[in-house]
């Protein structure tokens, strides 16, 4: 089984400032890692994913994340946020085994509020 912990439930940040959202996971097998964003009253949109290879992953809207296997972390960063980045961000994992069927386990979410 897998579990995901997002260490910050809310992150207020000023416009054009950097932001980092922390995500740690626990799993007995290797996992794929994902960050999704949810804007108000909408579904989830994939920001980026780590499957294999380079541990630094670049996604849409200027976001990037770094996979750290030894620390079982997958923190999300953006060097300069915009008002439009105000949203809920979810970290998720799925087990790298076929029997898992791509099922996702989500963290509790981090609400980012960008202030002018």
């Amino acid at each position: 089984a897998q579990s995901v912990t997002q260490l910050d439930s809310q992150v207020p940040v000023f416009e054009e400032a950097p932001v980092e959202l922390r995500c740690n996971y626990s799993s007995s097998v290797s996992v794929y890692l994902f960050w999704y964003v949810q804007y108000p009253n909408q579904g989830l949109q994939l920001l980026l994913k780590y499957l294999s290879g380079s541990t630094l992953v670049k996604g849409i809207n200027g976001f990037e994340a770094e996979f750290n296997k030894s620390q079982t972390s997958f923190h999300l960063r953006k060097p300069s946020v915009h008002i439009s980045d105000t949203a809920e961000y979810f970290c998720a994992v799925s087990a790298k085994i076929k029997a898992a069927g791509n099922k996702l386990t989500f963290g509790g979410g981090t609400r980012v509020l960008v202030k002018p």
Binding site: Q42, G43, L44, L46, K49, G101, K103, T105, F106, G108
Partner: protein, 112 residues
């Protein structure tokens, strides 16, 4: 861009009513999923399907049921709605052999 649709987007209904939440995707994905998300909370998998005539219960126990008669359609039914069913329900799909799930816009259900 993913093409996955959910209807209705919002539903207010009285206790005891039967409801069906619709989910359709036009991408030919074989895997489909239903998640439940309470306000400000994480998503929990309640049902999934690996293909036509295949349905399984997810990690979170749910009184809802699902069916998968056609590849593109994965409806969720509550036979008798209760206030405890008030939540947001998100549908997702993925293609076999890939890892990325694509999500619909969700249905917000309020049971009075």
């Amino acid at each position: 861009e993913a093409d996955i649709y959910q209807t209705p987007r919002y539903l207010v209904i009285g206790t005891g009513k039967k409801i069906t939440l619709e989910c359709s995707q036009t991408m030919g994905h074989d895997k489909m999923y239903w998640y439940q998300q309470d306000p400000g909370m994480e998503l929990h998998l309640i049902h999934y399907s690996y293909g036509v005539n295949s349905t399984e219960k997810g990690d979170l126990s749910s009184e809802s049921t699902v069916s998968r008669i056609r590849t593109e359609h994965f409806p969720l039914t509550l036979e008798s709605a209760r206030p405890s069913h008030t939540s947001q329900y998100l549908c997702a799909s993925s293609r076999g052999g890939t890892e990325t799930q694509y999500f619909g816009p969700g249905t917000r259900l309020l049971v009075l």
